[in-house]
């Protein structure tokens, strides 16, 4: 009896958490199907009388979303790939190699994680504008090709691989490079998948930096493109929400496919996402 009670309580709490997490998404979808007047009605309307699918068509026409979509895909894929490759190499060095100043270097990089991202906006902008990269993919990709957070996550998971496996591979004739790609990376698949997905989501959703370094459709990404619905005359919420739904769908699909790896990877690294 007591056991069933605690079971029920557990499910209630978990369900409440799930509802709280889901609510904004439901609200977004609901708003995307409303008329302009319905969006600002009090008390709020959860299910509009008529589902206005036309909002999606209208939103799509309001800005060059296809172009933004391509930009977002390119930027996300390139930054993620680049960042994972650089992080795997750095994490391997920190986890398995011995070199002078390793601990100092590690603490130093760890220290850089304490600098708030906003503080880097201006120096990075100045650097990239001197490199004439503003309003190009370069500006969006270059600053994110390395991330110490990712290095840190991967280092934790590489360290969990026993040294004897490293020695065994060395004795079996694998070079450091061979060990890294043939043994260590396949063994750390779940952690690598987890950081990859986290990075993809972060990159896909990035707003502030793309806002600053893009000024037209050439390199502008989807989250920045959503601004099209905010004008001096106010915000067209139903169109904004329709476009937002369109923006998050790829990430939701990605997450659903890979959530098994993400959860395993995060718990393995002993970190919260």
């Amino acid at each position: 009896m007591k056991k069933t009670m605690s079971q029920v309580l557990l499910y209630v709490i978990v369900s409440l958490g799930a509802i709280i997490m889901l609510l904004p998404f439901l609200w977004m979808i609901s708003t995307s199907l409303k008329t302009s007047t319905e969006t600002i009605k009090i008390p709020p309307i959860w299910i509009p009388k008529v589902l206005r699918w036309a909002n999606y068509v209208e939103a799509f026409k309001a800005a060059p979303f296809m172009r933004y979509f391509v930009n977002s895909v390119v930027v996300t894929l390139v930054t993620t790939l680049g960042q994972i490759v650089t992080s795997i190499l750095a994490a391997f060095a920190f986890a398995k190699l011995n070199f002078h100043g390793k601990n100092f270097l590690f603490s130093f990089f760890l220290g850089t994680m304490m600098i708030p991202g906003e503080m880097l906006l201006i120096p990075n902008f100045v650097t990239l504008s001197k490199m004439h990269l503003i309003n190009t993919y370069g500006a969006l990709i270059l600053p994110y090709l390395a991330s110490f957070f990712t290095v840190f996550m991967l280092k934790q998971s590489f360290q969990a691989v026993p040294d004897s496996i490293y020695f065994a591979a060395k004795i079996d004739g694998a070079s450091d490079w061979g060990f890294l790609w043939r043994i260590l990376v396949p063994m750390s698949k779940s952690s690598i998948t987890a950081v990859t997905v986290l990075q993809m989501i972060g990159s896909w959703n990035a707003f502030m930096w793309p806002l600053i370094v893009t000024n037209d459709a050439t390199a502008r990404t989807l989250p920045v493109g959503l601004q099209a619905f905010t004008t001096d005359a106010g915000t067209e919420y139903q169109l904004l929400m329709a476009a937002s739904t369109f923006v998050i769908i790829p990430m939701v699909i990605l997450y659903l496919f890979l959530q098994k790896y993400i959860i395993a990877g995060i718990s393995k690294s002993g970190l919260k996402g």
Binding site: K170, A174, I183, M187
Partner: protein, 351 residues
């Protein structure tokens, strides 16, 4: 291939000396154990042989070739680790074939060789499984096959049986012996378990405190220990050790006067303490027998002597004893005399 160490030292940061002046030759085609307590230097010695560690001073030879500065790969050693170190994402077959893949042996050939070794270690029916699906003993067999697949110069095993349960350990040590004899490969085996070392080895090297205490055949370690450490380390029950000061009268009676004065400690094996004087008696005490325990074929007597507890297996189960002191005698075979540094002294008795 035989392995020779000449004046090998190993120290970390020029300060902490781990190994001091190691000199030995491991004969070709034999199974040799490195035995000793933890921290004694046995795994370190193995890593020096494998090339995973490099000497601070001295030289290492494989056969007549110097390998001191060669890496593990160049030395072509095969190694088995305590935790097996199998590659978890590869199948058993791919694990065994991995060293061959690194040597760029073509796929058909390397699988053929891998299967041959899988057969040798009896895992031929597990080839497609991942290591996690195997038992500890099977994983160890796969690790041995992988080490052998590249036809190594030496087979090195670092505490290979420590992670197995008692029954499997005995089975696997027979298996290691069998595999070693079938392949004829020089095998070096690290263990802290004297039973393991004494049962399977052709030679045993006892290491303690970074030095070789004794390097000989298993039976000699027991019958002929070179120092007090080896005498205490080898044998079960542990040898009885008496202070020479406690045995003055006996030493005086049985040993020549110029000899007994050098004696600082006397080690007596449990089976060498007898209730009747043997022909070659080398000692005598008056002690009290507390208890005689009888399990199966073994009889153990607990004895009190000068507040010290001794153990004898030389007293018969039906021996009658009371609270009074009785005379007990030490047989020459099993009684050892040690000097101030714990070094064994050659026995010279009155005849």
């Amino acid at each position: 291939m035989n392995v020779t160490f000449e004046h090998v030292d190993l120290s970390y940061d020029d300060k902490k000396t781990i190994l001091k002046d190691l000199n030995f030759t491991i004969p070709d085609g034999k199974l040799v154990s490195l035995l000793g307590p933890s921290g004694g230097g046995k795994t370190t010695t193995l890593n020096l042989i494998s090339g995973l560690l490099h000497v601070t001073k001295g030289q290492i030879f494989f056969g007549s070739k110097e390998v001191t500065d060669q890496s593990a790969l160049e030395r072509k050693v095969g190694m088995v680790f305590q935790n097996y170190a199998l590659y978890p994402h590869l199948s058993v077959l791919d694990n065994i074939a991995f060293p061959l893949k690194m040597q760029k042996v073509n796929k058909a050939k390397r699988y053929q060789i891998a299967k041959k070794y899988a057969h040798l270690v009896h895992v031929e029916d597990q080839l497609t499984k991942k290591p996690a699906a195997l038992s500890g003993g099977q994983q160890q067999r796969v690790a041995i096959a992988r080490a052998l697949a590249k036809q190594p110069s030496l087979l090195l095993l670092d505490e290979p049986l420590s992670n197995l349960d008692a029954r499997l350990r005995i089975e696997m040590r027979q298996e290691i012996k069998r595999i070693q004899q079938e392949t004829g490969i020089t095998t070096i085996f690290v263990t802290h378990d004297q039973d393991e070392a004494l049962h399977i080895s052709d030679y045993v090297m006892v290491l303690n405190d970074g030095r070789i205490q004794q390097f000989t055949q298993p039976q000699d370690l027991y019958d002929d220990p070179k120092n007090l450490f080896v005498a205490k380390f080898i044998g079960n029950p542990v040898i009885n050790v008496l202070d020479a000061a406690d045995l003055q009268a006996s030493l005086q009676k049985y040993l020549p006067s110029n000899f007994y004065q050098q004696v600082k400690a006397v080690g007596v094996r449990a089976e060498a303490i007898l209730p009747q004087p043997p022909i070659d008696c080398v000692g005598q005490i008056q002690a009290q027998i507390d208890k005689i325990e009888h399990f199966g074929s073994s009889v153990t007597a607990n004895i009190s002597y000068h507040q010290q507890r001794l153990v004898s297996t030389g007293i018969p189960a039906n021996y009658q004893f009371g609270k009074q002191l009785v005379d007990l005698y030490f047989a020459k075979q099993g009684t050892y005399f040690f000097d101030n540094d714990g070094k064994r002294l050659e026995v010279k008795t009155h005849d």
